[in-house]
């Protein structure tokens, strides 16, 4: 009997499913419309329909599923749309308004009409209790348990469904927070309770407070989602525990996700990074910049040696979150972004988008402002008659008229303007990529650009040229890369603790003890996820800084027992990292260890794509026609061969200019680049030598 490993990517428009038969090595994909009001319906439908196509058991189609992983936008959407639950907050006396004050910065430096993001707990549900701990851990004022209980009762009367607790220095000495949680559980047994020392045990009280409040606010939403999805999958006969991706790209079990929903706000985009990572590893490219361009936004990330950097803190939709998150940068520009001329006479693109409805002008659904897609239709880099493999007719004449209106205002030709729209959007994308590469000290020229999402493959070569990147990789199924990636990744969780220690030999014992405690937590997680001992991996690192700095650099910890030699190696590693980042290192200031981190990896059996037999270099059998495509290199239309992606065979090679069409994406190979198909049917574009 077949054993199916299943990955599901639940997006805003479509729910994609990728099914992999681990015995036969066969991959199947399926797509259904998403159900944003209750995403679990769409997911269950995708599983049911997908499995019925491959499995014989029609009563229990999901019985043959041996692994289920998915990426979800449930937490993100609840945050964006403010659909979390009524939440109460308990703080140290004198600090309830911190949630609203934040870092006292206004939302925009110059815009007098900008507003702060909505404060998720209104002032009357933010209650203060007498207690105070000092930074040394000394108790300045004990917790007033009676006042604490009275506050819990007030919140119960107010009808809150979740409560956050965050006291000053709760990460140094959590006993007040722990006692507050006990009292809250006694008084509000049905509420979701979340405490600072559990969710984000690190300094900077506002960012920790924001994180724990978000966790409480989203907690019942995520619980409800898990409660809805689990029985649906069980009803289809599925017997394995479902998993989902966290913002750190690690896949975890449902119960862990339900406790820490704040760690899943980037679950969706991080799934794409995980997919890119897996495909890149298979194809032999470890240094990647991912370029996931959709209709309204684009996510970019950088993978060095097959790994994406982890930010320990980021601001998501206006709310600071202290949680490990892949360093993914999002820009508000995609295929649907609208081009316009601003008051100063410059061409601008986005962030306004024509969306899916009405969509670009060429969809003929009532929009008259040209979008990026319209520019491509005018240039005929996109098929000027129809898209989606013929299922959607389009109107090139309308696109031309719309771009032409901009051209008249700019005093440029129609084609130059269309190409200009692409240049501006490419510039925006390049700036986003510089944020995650150049600004972090990485030279983009050392990386391969992996393009996916609906619009990524079409713009990737131009973007690569802008950044002087020499190679672009377009996976076989750029539209379902996220779902596929879920089947190609291990389980992962991160554990960390803040311990301010000198980076000196005398700290070796304390460091060893702290790592031992973290590793014990990791082992417990391995047990919970039922990961066999030989499949367990641990990776250690330390965030370090000069005494006096407040930002750290991550330094890997050498393997083996922590000894005085380890401490010397850490100090040397930090000096190197500081010199590389800031151009100097100094002996004047002592070096500190700040946060110790352990990454736990549970190696699981992954979907293994089979290498395809070499079909020889001749790609001419895949040519389905030619059309004139306007190319800036020629300044004119050039008759360009059109290749059908599904007809390309491993080993095929061809030179640009060329256009490769497939159902859900179009790839442009500009002049001066060559394309080859690798053994896994990835399309690899390279700058001709």
């Amino acid at each position: 009997m077949s054993q199916w490993r299943v990955g599901v990517d639940s997006g805003g428009t479509f729910t994609d499913i990728c099914l992999f038969d681990s015995r036969a090595g066969r991959v199947e994909v399926w797509k259904v419309a998403s159900t944003p009001d209750d995403p679990s319906r769409g997911i269950a439908q995708a599983v049911e329909e997908g499995m019925r196509r491959v499995a014989s058991d029609t009563e229990r189609p999901a019985a043959a599923v041996v692994y289920f992983g998915h990426g979800t936008t449930v937490a993100t959407n609840a945050l964006i749309q403010h659909r979390g639950v009524k939440t109460g907050l308990i703080t140290t006396d004198g600090f309830r308004d911190l949630l609203e004050i934040g870092r006292q910065k206004r939302p925009d430096l110059y815009d007098l009409h900008a507003d702060k993001p909505l404060t998720l707990v209104p002032r009357d549900l933010r209650l203060e209790v007498p207690e105070r701990v000092r930074h040394t851990g000394e108790i300045d004022r004990p917790l007033d348990e009676e006042r604490m209980r009275a506050a819990a009762r007030d919140l119960k009367v107010a009808g809150v469904r979740a409560v956050a607790v965050s006291f000053l220095y709760g990460f140094v000495r959590p006993e007040h927070e722990k006692r507050a949680v006990e009292i809250l559980r006694e008084e509000l047994p049905d509420a979701f309770i979340s405490a600072g020392h559990e969710v984000a045990p690190e300094f900077r009280e506002y960012e920790r407070l924001s994180t724990v409040v978000l966790n409480a606010y989203l907690g019942p939403v995520m619980e409800g989602y898990v409660r809805n999805l689990s029985p649906r999958l069980e009803g289809l006969g599925m017997t394995v525990a479902p998993h989902l991706t966290q913002s750190n790209g690690g896949v975890i079990g449902f119960s862990t996700a339900a406790d820490l929903p704040v760690r899943t706000v980037l679950s969706g985009p991080s799934t794409g990074v995980v997919g890119a990572q897996a495909i890149g590893a298979l194809a032999g490219f470890d240094d990647l910049i991912t370029f996931d361009m959709g209709g309204t936004s684009t996510d970019v990330a950088l993978l060095q040696g097959g790994r994406c950097g982890l930010a320990t803190e980021a601001t998501v939709h206006g709310y600071p979150i202290k949680a490990p998150m892949l360093d993914i940068h999002t820009v508000g520009a995609g295929g649907g972004s609208i081009a316009y001329i601003d008051a100063g006479g410059l061409l601008k693109v986005g962030p306004r988008s024509s969306g899916a409805d009405p969509g670009p002008v060429c969809y003929d659904k009532g929009n008259s402002e040209p979008a990026v897609t319209d520019a491509n239709v005018v240039l005929q880099t996109l098929n000027p008659q129809h898209l989606l493999g013929g299922r959607m007719p389009i109107r090139q004449d309308l696109a031309k008229a719309a771009v032409g209106r901009l051209a008249d205002q700019l005093g440029l030709g129609l084609m130059e303007t269309a190409q200009g729209i692409l240049s501006v959007v490419t510039g925006n994308m390049a700036r986003a990529i510089r944020v995650i590469s150049v600004q972090r000290g990485h030279d983009p020229r050392d990386y391969t650009l992996m393009a996916f999402g609906g619009a990524g493959p079409l713009h990737a070569a131009r973007l690569a040229r802008e950044l002087e990147i020499g190679r672009v990789l377009v996976p076989a199924n750029p539209g379902i890369l996220c779902a596929m990636g879920l089947l190609m990744t291990d389980l992962r969780a991160d554990f960390s603790v803040t311990r301010l220690l000198p980076a000196a030999e005398r700290s070796a014992d304390a460091v060893a003890a702290a790592f031992a405690a973290l590793e014990e937590r990791a082992e417990r997680w391995f047990e919970r996820e039922s990961i066999a001992v030989p499949a367990r991996r641990l990776v250690r690192s330390v965030d370090m800084r000069y005494h006096g700095q407040n930002y750290e650099l991550s330094v890997p910890v050498p393997a083996g027992a922590i000894t005085q030699a380890t401490m010397r190696a850490l100090a040397a590693g930090f000096a190197d990292a500081h010199r590389q980042r800031y151009g100097f290192a100094t002996d004047d200031d002592p070096v500190q260890l700040v946060t110790l981190r352990v990454e736990a990896i549970g190696v699981v059996q992954k979907a293994e794509l089979k290498a395809q037999p070499d079909g020889g270099p001749d790609a001419s059998a895949a040519i389905v026609g030619r059309r004139p495509v306007w190319l800036p290199e020629a300044g004119d239309f050039v008759a360009t061969p059109i290749y059908a992606r599904e007809a390309l065979r491993a080993g095929n090679r061809f030179a640009g200019p060329a256009v490769v069409e497939q159902m859900d994406a179009t790839t442009l190979v500009p002049p001066g680049m060559t394309a080859r198909v690798d053994a896994w049917l990835n399309l690899v574009l390279e700058t001709a030598a």
Binding site: G94, F95, D97, I101, H113, P122, S423, G583
Partner: protein, 550 residues
């Protein structure tokens, strides 16, 4: 030997290249700023982000300023011309770095803002300058009768010569600082930031050609100018006047300040009137006035205008030399931010008469500061800490003002209590919004803040605030914001603006609220009920100002 590189003719560049280079310049100043913050040691930079970065062309015009602190532009505007007056380009070398802070010979606006400027040479020609400013938390507990009391005046001098540290210059500066170790670490961070600026600018020039990058820089200034002119031209022609007073601990009586704003076609004139400069730290240099006006006009007319020198061209700003708003040597300037905030609000008050829907009511109109100095109990070394506290922001024509934020020309973060207490012998016992501090109105003014400090070891404190006697005005029938004030705990006596705190003693700073917009009678009843439920207003205010019972 060295000459200045020429820009390409702006007319020869296409709009797309200009746009792409503009984005690249913006990302360079963002990156230098991030480098400065991350490498720095003082709480004022690493957490409060009281610093700015910019790129200038060889003529000293701003190519791009990062979005940090608007008033810092005042220190940048005249810096490069001051350097060029003192030193010949022929004598400059790659790796030279100039340090300066002086208000009268270095283009600065107050002495703690120390600027580091490095010329960028490409093919032996001066192409541009990378510049950054860090507010060093030093020069405190001095006097403010004239600038000689306020700290060390540094004209632009070389701190590095062709990449070599001039340690004699550095030693001279550090000896005049109260916390030299911290100054040294922050200066290194400033150098690291400029190093990044030089590298990135050179890479950009290598890619597009120096002439193209500089040409694009000029085109971007022209572009900012066009946008500014278009925005001014969209205003009705006319002249509008507005007056307010300035008051704080340093001045005996309320000082009248006024502005006359004239719009004609695509140009704007702003003529300020103020009393003579004072023997107090509240005087503004002309560059501080310019930076303030550029900030407020851009904010009202088009927040999206690029922050470069082009936006200034349609504006004419005047104030009598020797007055509070255009002071001359030897006026003291340390607390100029209080005055700058009032100037920004004056301009809003004048423009409210022309375009009420686009302005806001008076902000808290202050930059409330606490300066602490003491000896470390463990080693007797001096410690210095300063922080600024936000307040109310003015109500808008269609919504309430923001509560507890930094407004106008300043934009620093607070310091987390969990970062403050481990570094300084202080305890923060409350940090909260102040009920009834926002001016009543159809749209409520933003609320002020209250921050309570307790000393754990003896130290001295000095406060700098405003609006203790006057109030931030509302617009169109709305009420004013509440006063700013100092609350002294038992045993604490403020002598003017200063006090000694013994261990366990406390004081509180209360920052002003902002003005409302529109008559209170027109406020939405549900909004009044919500404010009352949340304790934003008291029941007395609900009853008296909004006629709500219960």
């Amino acid at each position: 030997m060295n000459q200045v590189a020429d820009p390409a003719r702006a007319g020869n560049l296409d709009p797309i290249t200009i746009e792409v280079i503009g984005a690249a310049l913006a990302s360079i100043v963002d990156e230098t700023g991030e480098t400065l913050i991350r490498a720095s040691h003082s709480t004022n930079i690493k957490e409060r982000r009281d610093c700015s970065t910019a790129l200038f062309n060889a003529a000293g015009e701003t190519l791009c300023q990062a979005e940090h602190i608007p008033i810092h532009l005042g220190s940048f505007i005249d810096l490069v011309p001051h350097i060029m007056r003192r030193y010949r380009v022929e004598d400059m070398r790659p790796g030279d770095a100039f340090i300066g802070n002086d208000a009268y010979s270095g283009g600065g606006t107050h002495l703690p803002d120390i600027v580091l400027a490095e010329p960028i040479f490409i093919d032996d020609r001066l192409a541009a300058w990378t510049v950054n400013l860090a507010h060093h938390a030093d020069f405190v507990d001095r006097g403010h009768a004239h600038i000689y009391q306020e700290g060390l005046r540094i004209p632009p001098v070389r701190l590095y010569r062709a990449g070599e540290l001039q340690s004699d210059v550095q030693d001279l500066i550090l000896l005049n600082c109260q916390v030299p170790a911290e100054r040294l670490s922050d200066l290194r961070a400033q150098m690291a930031a400029n190093r990044v600026g030089v590298q990135r600018f050179r890479a950009l020039a290598a890619k597009y050609g120096t002439g193209t990058v500089l040409g694009a820089g000029e085109a971007l200034m022209d572009y900012a100018e066009r946008k500014m002119r278009a925005a001014i031209a969209a205003l009705p022609d006319g002249t509008w006047r507005f007056a307010d007073v300035f008051d704080n601990e340093e001045v005996a009586e309320a000082l009248p300040l006024s502005v006359e704003v004239t719009v004609k076609g695509d140009q704007m004139w702003l003529a300020f009137d103020a009393p003579d400069q004072l023997r107090a730290g509240v005087n503004m240099t002309y560059t501080a006035l310019l930076a303030t006006v550029y900030y407020v006009v851009k904010s009202v007319l088009d927040p999206g205008i690029l922050p470069n020198a082009g936006l200034a061209r349609p504006l004419t700003v005047t104030a009598r030399e020797g007055s509070l708003l255009n002071c001359k040597h030897p006026a003291a300037v340390n607390g100029r931010l209080q005055t700058c905030q009032r100037v920004a609000d004056l301009v809003l008050g004048a423009l409210a008469q022309a375009i009420p829907e686009r302005v806001m009511a008076c902000s808290n109109s202050a930059c409330t500061v606490a300066y602490f100095i003491g000896e470390r109990p463990e080693n007797g070394k001096l410690w210095v800490y300063l922080e600024t506290i936000g307040g109310g922001s003015g109500a808008r024509a269609d919504k309430d003002g923001l509560d507890g934020v930094h407004v106008h020309t300043t934009n620093t973060s607070n310091l987390p209590v969990e970062a403050l207490e481990p570094e300084y012998p202080l305890l923060v016992s409350r940090y909260e919004l102040v009920a009834d501090s926002g001016g009543v109105g159809q749209f409520r003014g933003g609320m002020g803040l209250r921050r309570v400090y307790q000393a754990t070891h003896e130290c001295r404190v000095r406060v700098d605030l405003s609006r203790q006697r006057s109030q931030s005005w509302g617009l169109f029938g709305a009420g004013p914001g509440a006063h700013g004030k100092v609350e002294a705990g038992p045993g604490v006596t403020f002598n003017g603006d200063s006090a000694v705190l013994k261990p366990g003693q406390w004081f509180a700073l209360v920052t002003p609220g902002a003005g409302g917009f529109g008559p209170p009678a027109k406020r939405d009843r549900a909004a009044v009920a919500r404010d009352l439920a949340e304790g934003v207003i008291t029941s007395a205010t609900a009853r008296e100002a909004y006629r709500r019972d219960g």
